[in-house]
């Protein structure tokens, strides 16, 4: 058993990056590995509510993210500085996540054996 930390820095829909990060986190959980997701920079935008990606013929990332807790990906972290830089607050997000400052992020990384920036 290994602990996986998946890091995403990309916004949804502009590329497949956010979806493929989410899929990797889900896969870790499906294979019974402890996993957490850390969102940095534009990845904060993945958590905005009320996506309507059908307007651009894409699947809803929020819907996929809502399933993360069901698959035991119960730890979703977001970078406090990235949120602030984008004028976002925790209560404006579509999922219950934990915000971390840089010291906490540094400490977090040390607790995972496998760290993947997707």
């Amino acid at each position: 058993m290994k602990r996986f930390l998946i890091i995403s820095r990309q916004s949804p829909y502009g590329s497949a990056a956010a979806r493929e990060a989410t899929e990797l986190a889900l896969a870790c959980a499906l294979f019974d590995q402890p996993v957490a997701l850390l969102l940095l920079d534009d990845a904060c935008y993945q958590l905005l509510p009320e996506h309507q990606p059908e307007t651009i013929a894409q699947k809803n990332l929020s819907a996929m993210q809502q399933s993360l807790p069901l698959y035991d990906v119960d730890k979703i972290f977001v970078c406090q500085r990235s949120l602030a830089q984008r004028g976002l607050t925790l209560d404006s997000l579509s999922l219950a996540v934990t915000s971390l400052d840089t010291r906490q992020i540094s400490a977090l990384i040390r607790t995972y054996e496998m760290v993947i920036n997707v």
Partner: protein
């Protein structure tokens, strides 16, 4: 063996925030290896930004880009491998 991380950065000064995340994540005992476009961070202009960092630079990428006298220690591919062995995990910032 102590629990340390090898941070690997492959993007250059176009991505300042990426470097910042990488530096913020580093703690004592960690090392930073610059590869690909990341090697531009090893030039003199950025010395202050990377001060106090245990810094390594991939020689092939450095030479390919016409860079000389990098800050930090030059390593070849074997040295890259050794760094991943010495540290307990690697984090690629990309």
């Amino acid at each position: 063996m102590s629990d340390t991380t090898l941070h690997i950065l492959n993007r250059g000064p176009n991505q300042t925030e990426l470097l910042q995340h990488c530096l913020d994540a580093m703690t004592s005992g960690d090392a930073l290896l610059l590869i690909e476009d990341g090697v531009y961070w090893s030039t003199a202009h950025f010395t202050e930004k990377l001060s106090g960092v245990d810094l390594y630079v991939l020689t092939a990428d450095l030479e390919a880009r016409g860079l000389k006298e990098p800050r930090g220690q030059s390593v070849d591919d074997d040295g890259f491998v050794d760094l991943t062995v010495v540290h307990s995990r690697s984090v690629s910032w990309c």
